[in-house]
């Protein structure tokens, strides 16, 4: 038998430890890869395909996944190396040299971590493929395409190395520097009392004595416990915030769709280029069972940067009372200031037409009067009727007539609107780029888009939060797995001194809940205020905070149940 064979045997005998190490690394890397493949995907990050308000949601969890990788890998490396201290202590006492030990550890680590990385990249690729598949075929955002590119692989591998290499050098190095006598006693000697522990002991000594075994266990693992708790805290609070934001944001999408569409259909006739017979439109709509209740027509002029509407007509049809004198105009910003977006509202101060004539601003107002349409310019000015007539004669301006329709049932108008679109493109035969310009816009389409965006956002967040919660549960799983040996011994000795099985089980449940639930509760509590303020931007502070709290409580409940079940399983494994 050679040393190589012995190493191999020990590797196989320690398989469960390697397995934990392997899967922790695999999971952390796959998680990050998944996010990397999304934020490096060009179609996803393209503002024309995916609303930046939605796609920007990916950065926050990506950073979190990167942090997870950077914290979790060294942690798992530490646990893995620490678990083998005693073994190395024995081998050193028999005369294994430190250099041999280092190379042995190095080979093992490289083997396990390289395999884990390869598996992680494969699993991450599959996961991101599923993600894009669902976005494309399930939600119907066809512009989003899954693609293989080298970049996310490179980023993931780089981060993986950055996280692992120093940790390995540090922890493997610590074994090499340690005294043999210390290594031989490694598991027992790592106990240290923290300030918190001593304070707890003093403040509630009765309580502490009753749960001595559990607390001493936690004290022994306080380092790992602390790092793990911080991670869990961050994971939970981020999940709560994301959930609350996604709920209010997708509700806001629907609300905005309605508030920005006071009318059910809009189109614009334009000079000679886009002619539409209103009677035909009404006829087509009627064919599809859409009853038109009201039609508003207002002439307007536009150039590249603004529209001008005659104020009298606007007052008449939209029930306003704007006063605009000759030689003046009013800036009308058609925004909902409560919608959560940033709005650019620099008023125009003066305009010049016919070469030398000037109009001055008489102020501005913020109010949504009508739906927007591609034919309109970004800004809207209201001018007096006499000025409007003069503007119409200026060759620099295009003259058009805007038509707003009100139906009795906008929800059923989709087919009718499609038919109107078809009719318009047939009658005008405009080139495709022009046609987009004179497109009909409608409430029902806007609403459907908002629904789609909302669903997409919720799916995206569910995907992210799902991954993060999986990270949380795996963290628990690996933690418990890594402690199994020590637990076995503790339980065995507890039972020998006459502690009943039920008491042991209760203790285990208590211990597991004590350390795993606390960060969840704290995460939920501490994310309440951020939730409130973030959602206040959509004027839904309380709803958002409520949704977050519900999620947090749900997560804590799920954890209580899972931990109870897990403790039972752990206990059974020990008895067997």
């Amino acid at each position: 038998m050679t040393f190589y064979e012995v190493s191999q045997k020990m590797l196989l005998a320690n398989f469960s430890r390697y397995r934990i190490y392997f899967f922790s690394n695999l999971f952390a890397a796959a998680l990050f890869y998944c996010f990397a493949s999304i934020f490096t995907n060009q179609s996803f990050m393209n503002g024309k395909i995916v609303n930046p308000l939605i796609s920007s949601n990916i950065y926050f969890p990506s950073i979190l996944a990167a942090l997870f990788l950077l914290f979790f890998l060294p942690l798992s490396c530490q646990v893995f190396v620490a678990a083998r201290k005693k073994e190395y202590g024995i081998l050193f006492s028999l005369g294994m040299s430190r250099r041999e030990a280092f190379w042995r550890q190095f080979c093992e680590n490289v083997l396990v971590t390289a395999l884990a990385l390869a598996a992680a990249l494969a699993a991450g690729t599959l996961l991101s493929w599923l993600f894009f598949g669902i976005i494309r075929y399930g939600i119907g955002i066809v512009g989003v395409k899954w693609g293989l590119s080298l970049e996310p692989y490179k980023i993931t591998a780089f981060l993986y190395l950055v996280a692992l290499a120093p940790a390995f050098i540090f922890h493997a190095g610590s074994i090499l520097r340690e005294k043999i006598s210390f290594l031989l006693k490694a598991p027992a000697l790592s106990e240290k009392e923290g300030v918190l522990y001593r304070m707890l002991c003093r403040c509630c000594s009765g309580y502490m004595r009753r749960h001595m075994a559990e607390w001493s266990f936690l004290r022994r693992h306080s380092r790992e416990w602390r790092i793990r708790s911080v991670l869990a805290f961050v994971i939970v609070s981020c999940s709560v915030i994301l959930v609350s934001v996604s709920v209010t944001m997708s509700m806001a999408f629907l609300r905005d769709a309605k508030s920005y569409s006071p009318y059910d259909m809009v189109y614009s006739e334009m000079d000679e280029r886009h002619r539409v017979l209103e009677g035909n439109v009404a006829g087509i709509l009627a064919e599809y069972g859409v009853v038109v209740e009201q039609i508003i027509r207002i002439p307007y002029v536009r150039n590249a940067s603004f529209n001008c509407f005659p104020v009298e007509k606007v007052n008449q049809y939209f029930q306003c009372a704007y006063q605009v004198k000759d030689g003046q105009f009013l800036n009308l910003f058609q925004y909902d200031l409560q919608d959560g977006y940033e709005h650019e509202m620099q008023p125009i101060s003066e305009i010049t037409y016919n070469g030398n004539r000037q109009l001055r601003s008489a102020g501005s107002d913020v109010r949504i009067l009508w739906n927007q349409n591609p034919a309109f310019a970004d800004r809207t000015l209201l001018v007096s009727d006499s000025d409007f007539e003069k503007l119409q004669k200026d060759a620099e301006f295009q003259v058009g007539v805007a038509h707003w329709f009100l139906f009795d049932q906008w929800e059923d108008s989709y087919d009718g609107i499609c038919a109107v679109k078809e009719y318009m493109s047939e009658t005008n035969q405009n080139a495709e780029s022009e046609a987009a310009y004179y497109e009909v816009s409608s409430k029902v389409e806007y609403y459907q888009d908002a629904q789609k965006s909302g669903r997409f956002l919720i799916f995206l967040i569910a995907f992210i939060v799902g991954l993060m919660m999986m990270a949380e549960f795996l963290l628990i799983h690996f933690r418990i797995q890594a402690e199994q040996e020590e637990n076995n011994r503790a339980v065995l000795s507890l039972r020998m001194i006459g502690v009943t099985d039920q008491e042991v089980l209760n203790d285990m449940k208590y211990k597991n809940r004590l350390r795993f639930i606390l960060p969840v509760i704290l995460g939920t509590v501490f994310s309440f205020l951020p939730c409130y303020f973030l959602n206040e931007a959509y004027s839904a502070g309380f709803q958002g905070a409520f949704a977050g709290a519900v999620f947090g409580i749900g997560a804590a409940g799920a954890e209580v149940v899972i931990l109870g079940w897990y403790s039972k399983r752990e206990f059974k494994a020990m008895k067997g």
């Binding site: 040393f3 024995i90 006492s93 028999l94 005369g95 040299s97 006598s181």
Partner: protein, 253 residues
Amino acid sequence: MLALHASNISKSYKSSGQTIEVLRHVDLQIASGEMVAIMGPSGSGKTTLLHVLAGVDVPDSGTVELGGEDFSGLTEEEKAFFRRTHIGMVFQDFQLLESLTVKENILLPLILNQKDVYWQDKALKKVMEALELAEFADKRIAELSGGQKQRVAIGRALIHEPGIVFGDEPTGSLDLKTTRDVMCCMVQMNRKFGSSFLLVTHDAYAASYCDRALLLQDGKLKSEVRKQESNASFREDILNMWCCLGGEADDFL
């Protein structure tokens, strides 16, 4: 084969703010091929002394010379090679590798010394027979009794025929007959290869196989008895030494 010369060894532990002086300026000399027993009350620092002498632990002060070479002055790398060729060690708590079988545990020193299979088999057979372990060869450590584990630990310490063997209560878990077998095995090795032995023991019977017995108390080597003519009178001397400290003669039976 190896002489040990330790001088002025001190060792203290710090725990929860207190410093415990375990060894205070201990001097110890073992001639090449000598068998020495160390006795002493529980907690007197016997294990600590043994660990320091074998280079498993580092003393606060003092030097250890093994075979005329300053062992404490060697680098870690040199210590490791020295240990694998010249030192055999039986730990009080055995320190066996749970992931390996009995056979593999015993073979480890030979494996580290890169001895080929022929030598391994030959040495293994001898040790297994002497320690009556043959039937457990392929068992896992967890399946053994305390005494069986102890014999595995002894086997591992002897298989490479080291120059000096440190045994921390090597017969503590053995019955009288097995104790005798194990001690005979050690004496045989001592006669045949001239290996030196330093054994910590509470057992006057086991100690009587040695050439000399020392008493460690309050961090110092207090008294010493030598084997003169017969085993019986040596045992008497050891018992007397023990009784002086307030022990009962019956404790050894």
